[in-house]
């Protein structure tokens, strides 16, 4: 078997740098995911509210996120705001902003779908028991919604983690960029390194995403 070139990872501080890069990816995605989940719950509930202006506004928001590639959003937020308003947002905050902006919209839509899927009789029964709107949502609807949300949101969360590789376009050196740097710096001595290094990157992403899907499976079972 030909050498996979994994040995380049053990030169100097290469492996440490790769892990630092991974941490950058995790940091950006975790902050965005947590913010997206909370804001998404709120936006999702608002999407079910019968208010034309609010509805139209959220529709525009959701469609913007759907249509715009994340890369374009990153460029607009990182370079666009500086160009137009002169704000100097750091690359990290721009990335977190864009990922939260995206995650909140998609999460909100998932929440909306989950709420809509709950039979109307659940609302009516709660009202018949004398609960007000807030109580109905808090005690009856949201717990059921959250359960339905788990598999859906896991897809979104893992996708957000993997999409952080785009932030290299605004100068953030994350795990994939470090991998490219390592491959490139060693192309002469170990031309096969691309395979080995990308394999390791694949494993690193797996190590990050797998516990999340295990946690989801556990929660689904427990709350079923």
């Amino acid at each position: 078997m030909a050498s996979l070139g994994i040995d380049v990872l053990f030169k100097g501080t290469n492996f440490l740098r790769l892990l630092q890069g991974l941490w950058v990816s995790i940091e950006i995605s975790l902050i965005s995911v947590v913010l997206s989940i909370f804001l998404g719950l709120v936006v999702g509930v608002l999407m079910t509210v019968n208010n034309k202006i609010l509805h139209a506004f959220l529709k525009v928001y959701l469609e913007t996120v759907r249509i715009m590639p994340q890369m374009v959003l990153l460029f607009i937020v990182y370079f666009g705001t500086t160009r137009v308003f002169g704000w100097d947002m750091s690359a990290e905050s721009s990335a977190i902003f864009v990922f939260t902006f995206w995650g909140t919209a998609e999460m909100g839509d998932l929440v909306r779908g989950s709420i809509k899927s709950i039979p109307i009789i659940q609302f009516e029964s709660a009202w018949a028991l004398g609960m007000d709107k807030l109580q109905t949502y808090f005690y009856i609807i949201l717990p059921q919604t959250v359960r339905r949300l788990i598999p859906l949101s896991i897809n979104l969360i893992t996708r957000m983690i993997k999409t952080t590789s785009l932030v290299m376009m605004i100068g953030i050196v994350e795990v994939l960029k470090v991998a490219q740097q390592i491959i490139e710096a060693n192309r002469k001595t170990s031309p096969n390194a691309a395979f080995g290094v990308f394999l390791v990157v694949f494993l690193l992403y797996f190590i990050v995403c797998w516990p999340i899907s295990r946690l989801a499976a556990y929660l689904e079972k427990r709350w079923a």
Partner: protein
């Protein structure tokens, strides 16, 4: 309700930013042909909002932001100890030394180099930046420090010696935002291009045979064929002979003037030959030294 409000604000801001950036993009291209006083004024305020830093401001802050490639060996790359290195970086180090400031390296991609300068997020781009007319309208180039032309590399088994010989389904690999992409799109619109954002991706794709050839700066493709067995540069020089130069934000005259003087001064001590010998000699050998190196901007 508070979160709703925040959402509204963020949403509105973004939609606003979208609209405004659309307008300014059109505005900028329109006003470059206008010489009317009012247009001058808007351009002025826009550029100061974007905020490039003058030479004095950089010196005062003690740090200069220099945009370099981090995956383009041997011009700009990161070595195994995590330090930036290469031909461009060797020059950047000297700039930092002569200005008496620390250097903050920013890892750039070919496609975002102009954005970085126009928003003032870096002070200088030293990322193998080829001087072209289109780019010169967007940024200010200092004196050149290297020669370059386009080249096309292909596997030994099927060497591409002329772009006219390509089959209808043959794809050529290019990197987005490079002169190779622009040149081929303009002069060979029928050739199918396979575009990549990062150098590492493009080379890996090429090695895996997803395209019949890879077009890029000839320095890149010569280096590639010398480093890798089984590849030949079938077309060593395509299109015009170009130069590579540092670039600064348009209008940043103090920094531009300093850079030009620096390059002229360095010419007297044959700095770029020393740079070549320190960083490029291993890759290109001594034969290409005088072809590639430009001393003192000439």
């Amino acid at each position: 309700m508070k979160k709703n409000f925040i959402n509204k604000v963020t949403g509105l801001t973004l939609v606003g930013a979208l609209a405004v950036s659309g307008f300014t993009a059109c505005g900028a291209s329109a006003s470059s042909s206008d010489v009317a006083g009012t247009d001058e004024a808007t351009v002025e305020s826009a550029s100061s909002a974007a905020g490039y830093r003058t030479l004095d401001e950089i010196k005062e802050s003690g740090t200069i932001n220099i945009g370099v490639f981090s995956d383009k060996s041997p011009f700009g790359f990161v070595d195994e100890n995590g330090e930036y290195a290469g031909y461009d970086v060797y020059f950047a180090e000297r700039i930092g030394e002569d200005l008496g400031v620390k250097i903050n390296y920013v890892s750039t991609e070919a496609a975002n180099r102009i954005e970085y300068l126009q928003t003032g997020k870096v002070d200088i781009i030293l990322a193998n930046f080829t001087v072209t007319e289109e780019r010169a309208q967007e940024v200010d180039f200092a004196l050149p420090y290297m020669n370059v032309a386009l080249g096309v590399v292909s596997p030994d088994s099927a060497v591409v010696e002329s772009l006219d010989d390509l089959g209808a389904d043959d794809q050529i690999i290019v990197i987005s935002g490079t002169t190779a992409e622009t040149y081929l799109t303009k002069n060979y619109p029928d050739i199918k291009l396979q575009k990549y954002d990062a150098y590492a991706e493009a080379k890996t794709a090429f090695e895996n045979g997803t395209g019949v050839a890879w077009a890029n700066d000839n320095t890149e493709v010569i280096a590639f064929s010398l480093e890798n067995e089984g590849y030949t540069v079938g077309i060593p020089s395509l299109g015009d002979q170009d130069t590579i130069a540092p670039a600064v934000t348009k209008g940043n005259d103090t920094l531009l003037k300093w850079l030009n003087e620096e390059i002229e001064t360095l010419g007297t001590e044959n700095f770029f030959h020393a740079d070549y010998e320190a960083t490029l000699l291993d890759t290109y050998g001594a034969d290409y030294e005088d072809t590639l190196v430009l001393e003192g901007g000439k």
